[in-house]
């Protein structure tokens, strides 16, 4: 055997690397992306803070000490020199107290719960509604598709924010004084239990599913003509089985990526609604509500708006980085195309 032949001989010990699956591959790509890893760590830390808020926060979010209103710790004067002269000092509150003497740090910590709940429930709602609507439209096609997509077109023409504001006003005042024992009463009780977030979810559900429906429809259209669908139909699989067993697993990837990328928009929608007073019910500590309260006194006590604003910005950063990384990891061809 010549030397060349020896070099060309197949060496199984080199070729037989363990093969990696799609998800494993994606995960490896994800952890190689430094920004995404940082985002992921922050998200995990936020989840931790949200779950253990009562143990981390020095006070509760609703505890008022009226005599301590607007007090700031001493180091705050160094950060905000403009406060010198009138601000009252109290080192009991790490980031100061708000206008009714509630600890701002504790409220920011509890506020994590609101933003994260929206970050996890918002995508689920819009994914469920949008996927069902979009796959029915795409799968059956023809006239059904035409009518269903025209309806989505009409909804697209609604000025989104104005519509949500109107809807929120409708929910809020319709359910203000319900008669006990009715359905409306049950709904309002449920809403009160979750601090007014139920309607934020409904608002998200009613306005965010349209994009998802269009995306799902497009994906279904591209998959349903493939041979394996025809094969499934040939062996007698029903519509539901084809949809869930054969189409769905093939389109879920892009949908999940789209939802991950949409998370920051849900978080900012909640903050925005709470900011204009149509979001959570006080004293539920939403960052948007805290920024709104703080923005009114920004000239005198800037700490009351700046710190919740930073918390919101960091959370949005983390989810944006993580979402970007996930998209690149699940579909490397898409890098930078959004």
């Amino acid at each position: 055997m010549s030397e060349q032949a020896a070099a060309l001989r197949v060496r199984p010990e080199v070729l037989a690397r363990p093969s990696r699956g799609f998800w494993e591959d994606a995960f490896l790509r994800l952890i190689r992306n430094r920004a995404a890893v940082v985002g992921g760590i922050i998200v995990i830390a936020l989840i931790f803070v949200a779950i253990f808020a009562p143990y981390i926060a020095p006070y509760t979010y609703y505890e008022q000490v009226l005599v301590d209103n607007n007090k700031v710790p001493a180091w705050m004067l160094w950060l905000f020199p403009s406060m010198k002269g009138y601000a009252r000092i109290s080192d009991r509150y790490p980031l100061g107290a708000d206008y009714v003497g509630r600890d701002i740090l504790s409220r920011i910590i509890y506020g994590t719960r609101i933003s994260l709940t929206v970050a996890f429930i918002g995508p689920i709602i819009s994914l469920v509604i949008g996927t069902i609507y979009g796959s029915i439209s795409g799968y059956f096609g023809g006239r059904v598709d035409n009518i269903m997509m025209r309806a989505v077109d009409v909804l697209y023409a609604f000025p989104g924010l104005l519509f949500i504001i109107l809807l929120m006003a409708f929910f809020r005042s319709t359910l203000a004084h319900p008669a006990p024992g009715t359905f409306v009463y049950a709904v309002s009780q449920l809403d009160a239990k979750v601090g007014g977030m139920l309607f934020i979810f409904i608002g998200i559900g009613l306005t965010a599913w349209e994009t998802m429906a269009r995306l799902t429809r497009g994906q279904v259209l591209s998959v349903k003509e493939k041979e394996f669908i025809e094969a499934a139909r040939a062996i007698g699989a029903g519509h539901l089985r084809i949809m869930f067993r054969h189409i769905f697993p093939n389109i879920i990837g892009p949908l999940v990526v789209a939802e991950t990328l949409a998370i920051p928009s849900y978080i900012s929608l909640e903050a925005f609604l709470s900011f204009i007073g149509l979001g959570v019910n006080p004293p539920t500590p939403s960052w948007g509500l805290m920024i709104s309260e703080g923005a009114g006194v920004i000239r005198t006590y800037p700490n009351q708006a700046i710190f919740p604003a930073l918390a919101l910005a960091i959370t949005m950063f983390a989810f944006n980085f993580l979402g970007d990384g996930l998209r690149d990891a699940l579909d490397p061809r898409l890098r930078g195309t959004r």
Binding site: D153, A157, A169, S173, F272, I306, L310, M316, N320, R338
Partner: protein, 353 residues
Amino acid sequence: MTRYIVRRFLWMLLVLFVVSLITFLLMHAVPGGPFDREKAVPPEILANLNAKYHLDEPLPKQYLRYLWDVFIPHISHIPPGTSLTDDHLINVKIGEKLWLKWMNFGPSYSSRSRTVNDYFRQQFPISAQLGTLALLVAVLIGIPLGILAALKQNTIWDYLGMGIAIFGVSVPVIVLGPILIWIFGVTLKWLPPTGWGAKPPFILGFIPSKLGPEFFKYAIMPSIALGLGQSALIARLTRASLLQVLREDYIRTARAKGLPERAVIFVHALKNSMIPVVTVLGPMFAALVTGTFVTETIFGIPGMGRYFVISITNRDYPLIMGTILLYAVILVLANLMVDITYAFLDPRIRLTD
């Protein structure tokens, strides 16, 4: 082509009709009326007020009356602007003591001396100015950032540019607004923290009459706060589109025939890569103009958005309807513009739709 545009136009009218109907129903489904006060109004006065504004009529009749007032042009002997219930957006003199009037959006219930059209003439231009400047900020920051990132792909410039883009998307107006006010308005005192530097009347309905440093001093912070997020989207789109164009054959041809790199990029590549960017500008402008409330609230700007939120709490029906319809028209027109542009650029679309 004409048939396509006509069809799109009819579709647009249908959409506006549906928007107005849903808004009307939802608005009247909210409990309470425009004349509810802390101290109850005597029933006979309430009845008189309701009769004056036709709120005692059945809802379908009220809705038809609204459509009649807004959509149907009228010819009348009464000079325009004589009463609050007879204020039309468009008045054309067609003869001796004869006017063609169109689009009467009705009086505002909460402000007794103004009509909805007054809000359109005095408040909406301010929102439009803010939206235009924000779009300008978005374009001026976004396009250079995107070009830089694409030309220096996978270098520090690319990562820096896209990092700034993520920063832009991650900082909503309610975060950026207070921080900007605190830095430049309160601490450094360079810019006025709140207010707007232009008052009606406006040139051509929306250009401020004094377009000087005084105007921009007020406008700069809100425009950046509103436009930065969109600049991030433009940057990403520009980058992606330019990268795609740079891989095309005609770019290779241009390079092969020895054109200087600058000419290849600025003459051949950039022009074509701007097509997707230009098409998003329409909807983006619509989104910016219709999404100004928070910016207006934070910076104390007397624009349309602020009054919309108030109008809902006040059950100011004509103002709610008017604002939503106006914004829906803007959104629909922006989408129509995109579709027509695409139809011109890509003949296949005309055949399929």
